[in-house]
């Protein structure tokens, strides 16, 4: 069984017609590599430092999550959705719950909708905070920005632990609402965290936006124009960095996002610097949403009384639901045949599909840029390989 040998390169793809000119170096980056955000491997064909060909190889973290879900009840696969994109467990839960509610036609009470928006925006905040740290780490900044990000993110994770019981594996949403109500004093603590965030963002912007080395390392690399991004199914901050206003919170208006006034930041060139800045600006917009959501959080039940917890059998049929997760468009496609197990359970992974144009972004760039471009796409291998 030859695991290492990748597919032979289709003939004539290297810019040099005859590789005899200079010897091309075939380098396998990963799967055990310090900056591939998990077990991800790229077969790169290098001419000196310049990338000539780049072939991503997947499957090192494949645990067949979908087959597991098809042999378990709807409720039992909710904790497994935490492990898809393990940085944003609450948005994974929401996408799954949203699709099952669409499948079974369940209503969600008012307070639960507000809680979902608050938790999703907190998840987006901590995901983008940690993204900054990893991107700077890829560029060699020795983890300083990463540690500032972790320190700020820790406050958000403490909020999650106080509410759901676990920092990263929350398993908090149920079909038709949330599992339990807020502990006393949680909203006030959330208000404190939200108020402390702008200070952190100002500090980060002073450290990053005018840093000459960072601008030189990120500007002008990894850019692809919007039309090709849409055709390749790319979604999330990458699309908005290319100047295309496509945010599912505004397009699908799922949940109660239409009640909050927030803006969608758009970039100019779609290169790595724009992707970095878009995420910084998105964090500020999330803070606006959190302000208004925390202010008018209504009282009331957190779960739809008719929703059954055990032996939940949605009517036969199928549904495709999608939300704007911090990585992009996270979708669930469920087919039910009225048995307690879903007949077909499919996750639409934004991290995997955002990698479609990785080769196009990297060809011609240097080997050091490949790491920065991969970092700017912000992938998590739990979601890529499922």
């Amino acid at each position: 069984m030859n695991l290492t040998r990748a597919a032979p390169w289709p003939a004539g793809t290297a810019p040099f017609a005859d590789p005899g000119e200079t010897e091309l170096l075939e380098l396998s980056l990963g799967p055990q590599h310090p900056s591939t955000h998990g077990v991800f491997r790229m077969n790169a064909l290098l001419d000196g430092e310049t990338v000539v060909r780049l072939q991503p190889v997947f499957g090192y973290l494949h645990r067949n999550h979908e087959q597991l879900a098809e042999r378990m009840s709807y409720l039992a696969s909710m904790p497994f959705t935490d492990r898809l994109d393990y940085f944003c467990s609450l948005t994974n839960n929401w996408a799954y719950a949203l699709t099952v509610e669409k499948l079974a036609g369940l209503e969600v009470p008012e307070r639960a909708e507000y809680l979902r928006v608050i938790l999703a925006e907190l998840t987006r905040l901590q995901n983008h905070t940690v993204f900054l740290g990893f991107l700077l780490g890829d560029m060699g900044a020795w983890g300083s920005v990463l540690m500032y990000g972790f320190r700020q993110r820790d406050a958000v994770l403490d909020l999650f632990e106080a509410l759901t019981g676990s920092r990263m594996m929350c398993d908090y949403l149920r079909f038709g609402g949330c599992r339990c109500d807020l502990p006393p004093g949680w909203a006030a603590a959330a208000r404190l965290v939200v108020d402390s965030y702008p200070g952190f963002l100002d500090e980060m912007e002073q450290l990053l936006t005018e840093n000459e080395i960072l601008r030189a390392r990120t500007m002008g690399i990894g850019g692809v124009e919007a039309k090709r991004l849409v055709n390749a199914g790319v979604s999330g901050p990458l699309l908005r960095a290319a100047g295309l206003s496509h945010d599912l919170r505004k397009v699908d208006r799922y949940g109660i996002y239409d009640r909050f006034s927030f803006r969608i930041p758009l970039g100019e060139k779609g290169d790595v610097y724009d992707r970095l800045m878009i995420r910084l600006l998105e964090m500020r917009e999330s803070l606006n949403i959190l302000d208004s959501a925390l202010r008018d959080l209504p009282e009331g039940p957190v779960i739809n009384p008719q929703a059954k917890l055990r032996n939940f059998r949605p009517p036969a049929g199928e549904a495709y639901g999608r939300i704007e997760s911090p990585k992009g468009e996270l979708g669930f496609y469920l087919i039910s045949d009225q048995s307690p197990q879903p007949y077909r359970y499919r996750v639409r992974p934004p991290s995997l599909i955002n990698l479609t144009l990785l080769e196009e972004m990297c060809v011609g760039a240097k080997i050091a840029d490949v790491m920065v471009i991969l970092g700017s796409i912000d992938i998590v291998l739990g979601e890529v390989d499922r």
């Binding site: 810019p15 040099f16 000119e21 200079t22």
Partner: protein, 176 residues
Amino acid sequence: MNLTASGLLFFAFAVLTLGAGTAVALVREPVRAALVGALCFVGVGLLYLWLGAEFLGFIQWLVYVGAVAVLIVFVILLTRREDAGGETEGGRFAGLRVLGGLGVALALFGALAAAVLGSGSLYREVPEEPMVLEIAALGRELVAGAVPPLILVGVVLTVALVGGVTLALVERKPDA
């Protein structure tokens, strides 16, 4: 043969230099040959130091070990593997080739030896106090006396460098 400490040192440096020199020819691996060559240059530098010419010794190290050795290594790396020359081991005229090589070597060595013995420098009395080099004087001498040759050498070097670079560029097909 009264073996003084410095005599012993000279003998060691000489063996080091000559040994490294012959090793360059004999070692099979090209990269190892380049590095042993660097060792030979270090030996020559040591000989200068033994003679008390520190300036010349360090210049020898700076120029040869620092630049020429690395240049040779780069040349070995950048040339392609396949046409590194077939092995001329064995074959019909092996004997003849060895004899020819020896002959040329002996002729060369003979000419060198004759020149050195003829110059009579071996028998001159070694001055008791080695001449102490005054750096500033050396500087003034270089700048005042030998300006034209200095500039000429610089120009030749630059032309050679620029030539080499353009050759390398032309050879690579312009990127599509």
